[in-house]
Each structure stands twice: as C-alpha cells, then as structure tokens.
Symmetry: none
Subunit: 221 residues, 2 copies
Amino acid sequence: MVEDEPVINQAVTDRLRGSGYEVVQAWDGPGAIAQFADTAPDLVLLDVMLPGFDGHEVCRRIQAERPVPVLMLTARDDEADILVGLGVGADDYLTKPFRMRELVARVAALLRRVDRAAELAVRSATELGDLRVDGAARRAWVADTEVHLTPTEFDLLLCLAANPGIVLTRDNLYAEVWGWPGASGTRTVDSHVKALRAKIGANRVRTVHGVGYALEPGRAK
Amino acid sequence: MVEDEPVINQAVTDRLRGSGYEVVQAWDGPGAIAQFADTAPDLVLLDVMLPGFDGHEVCRRIQAERPVPVLMLTARDDEADILVGLGVGADDYLTKPFRMRELVARVAALLRRVDRAAELAVRSATELGDLRVDGAARRAWVADTEVHLTPTEFDLLLCLAANPGIVLTRDNLYAEVWGWPGASGTRTVDSHVKALRAKIGANRVRTVHGVGYALEPGRAK
DNA sequence: CGAGACCTGCACAGAACCTTCACGAGTCAT
DNA sequence: ATGACTCGTGAAGGTTCTGTGCAGGTCTCG
C-alpha cells in the first residue's frame, strides 16, 4: 500500500488486514521500491500523487523488475491520467473518493486472477455472542438465522464488530465505511444505524449520547 | 501537544495521559520541531496560533520530515484557516472551545488508523474497589451493576478516577472536562458532582472544603 | 425502458442534557 | 458563639443531540 497521506494509507491498510490480507505500507516513491524488493508482494496499491517520484514512475520500475498486478488510486477523475497509468502497466484504477468495499472487491478480483489460493485466505468471521459476521462471505447471522443486510449496512456492522464495545464516532464510522472523512452535519450514519438496528435488534447497537455508537459485546438476549 | 497557553496545554495533556497516552509538551514553533525530532510521536496536536512560527508552518515542516497524523486546534471557526491547514497536511480540525471528550475521540480515531496497538493501550479500564470505569466503552459499574452516566458525568468521573484520592479543584476539573478554563463563579461543577454522587453513591466523592473534590480510593461499601 | 433496491440527506419532534440561580445548610477562624 | 465564606440542592430554562419518516436520486437488472 503506497500512499503518502497517513489517514488514507492506514484506513485502507486496516480494512485489508481486517479482510485477512497481509499488508505492508510505504509513503513515497523510494520507499515503495524498497518495500517491493524486500517483501515481494502479490499486488501493489499505488497512489498516483507521491513524494519522491510519482505513482506512474513507481509502477514502471516495479513492473520492470517483476510483473505484478497494480491497482492505482488517483485523486482526479482524469482520463489522461488513467491512460498513462495503463500505459505503464497498471491493471486497474480507482478514483478518490472511493468506497472501501469497492477497493476490497477490486483487490480480491485482481488477486483471484493471479492466484486462486489468495482468495481463500480471506476467510475471517467474527462472533459476538449470538451475532456472527463473515466478512469474506459478506453475511451475518443472529442466533443462527441469517439476516439480509444491504452493502452499507454490512460495512457498518463490520466496522462496529471489529471494535466490539468501543464507542466509534459518526466521523469514525463514516471515514471507515465510506473511505473518506466528511460526514459531519448529515444524518447519513444515523439512518443506516437505524436500518441496521431494525435487522439485528435495536439493543445491539448502543447509542452514546454526544459521542457515537458502539456494538454491544457478546450478550445473548 | 503544542500549545502556548499553559492552562489548555496542561489540561489536554492531563486528560490524554489519563486516557493512557504518553504525551510530551511544547509551547512554541521551534520547541515543537525540536520535540518532534526528539520523541518521534505517533500524532501531533497543534495549536494554530503559536509564538515563533505558527501551526501551519510547524505542520508543514514536520510533514516534510515524516508523515504523521496532525490534529489542528484553532480559535476561530475560520474556513480559510481550515483549508490552509488541510493544505499543509493536517488530518483533522477542532475549533475552540472544544469538549475534551471530543478531542479524545478524535485523537483515538486518528491513532486507530495509524496503529491498531495504540488503541488497545487506551482500553485501560480503571478499577477502584467495586467501582469500575471503562474509558473506551464509556461505561461505568458499581458493584457489577452498570450505571448510566451522562457524557459530562462520565468525563468527570474519568477525571477523578485518573487521580484516585487526590483532590482536584473545580478549576482543575472544569479545565479538564470542558477543555478551557473559566468556571470560576458558577456552580456547574457542583451540579454535576451532585448528579454523579446520586448515581455512584454519595460517599464516593469526597468534598474538601475550600479546595475541591476527590474520589475515594478503593473502598468497598 | 421500467421496476426494484438502495443510498442520502433533510426537517421535525422529542428526548437527553447542561447551565445557572437563589437560598438554606454547613464549615471554619476568631 | 458569630460572622464570613463555602457547599448542597431543587427547579427552571435553554441548548444540543438523536430517532424517525420521507422524498429525491442513483444504480442494477431484467
């Protein structure tokens, strides 16, 4: 994962790790090259704008060394940018702001192409009392009954379940689920929380007045 | 923690330490740069208005040296100010006066992204006799029974619990909970102490006449 | 192209919460 | 014991936060 902005870098890293991948981070061009040589990753996530030298340059260099799938992240929705990227060997593109789940999906897709086994590594299910969440299958159960969640609801639950009992602010949740900050002032998170509560049981998501929400840790009803 | 006003600097520092973080302080631009090099912090809290050179300049310099999350504090609610901040690499913003709990929440959010372990350090639940306080979950128990506390009550308890047995003045408490000095003359703290006493037991908070309040250290009822 | 599922954000109402004030009780020093 | 000061208390008033219903918009699929 190559990205100079710490917040984004870490958010993506966390999410991928949460999905069962092993991730190493780099924050600039030279660092990326070094990490690439050191760790021999199966896939490279590359921000276009980087200190040192930019993503395209990094892409060119690592492709020259060893063919590896590259997923580029670009701020602007710039055609030319994308073409240059494809020219130097990027396999896919994602423009910011992107949904986290889209990123995960594309990573999975690229890896699947290269190595069928990599896909299987991504089995990580969380269990809290009678609530079960399978991130790989994107399914959730309450007391052995599966509940159908919409994509956003599921991401929200995933987020909360990753930190059981800990209070997450709306900004927190928004940043992790939507992949970029800036929900302040809207009730979007609230709406999805409401929907989620309706499906998994209202008392499972605790409201902490003035702060945010938390998932109740294991407690069979 | 970089802030020239001693009261605020100390209040924030205390509160963060009480939450389990390690904090070093600086009071001006040059000092901040020096401390940054010396201590290699995981996160920087930065006041915009500083002697020496201002927060934006500091932010620029430390970002040039090593990417690190920066949380800016600004007096005025000035859009332009914020944009400049984001331009030089600040990750988040907080306008004064702010609630301490909001600051703590944002610090936790930023750190959560950078270092998952940092989060766990904060999971420090305090236990004093049959009183238990969990800062991360924002819950409190008395003799295994959970008590519901309002945000301010909880913050107050957190403050007191961080210094069991030690007397804190009203100014002390006010600064730590509310994030800025200036409670003198009001009975606000008293009111919340009263509410807290009603919930956790009156004898648990000791009044020290002419000074302030203190939490009784471990003493089963 | 149409239907359905989903996401987003607003406005409103109600709930939860904070602050302050006035007054009486309590505490301390002389 | 007395006066000066400090605390505790209850209630009122205002503020902020959350829950909810709903409408507009986007996206997907047949």
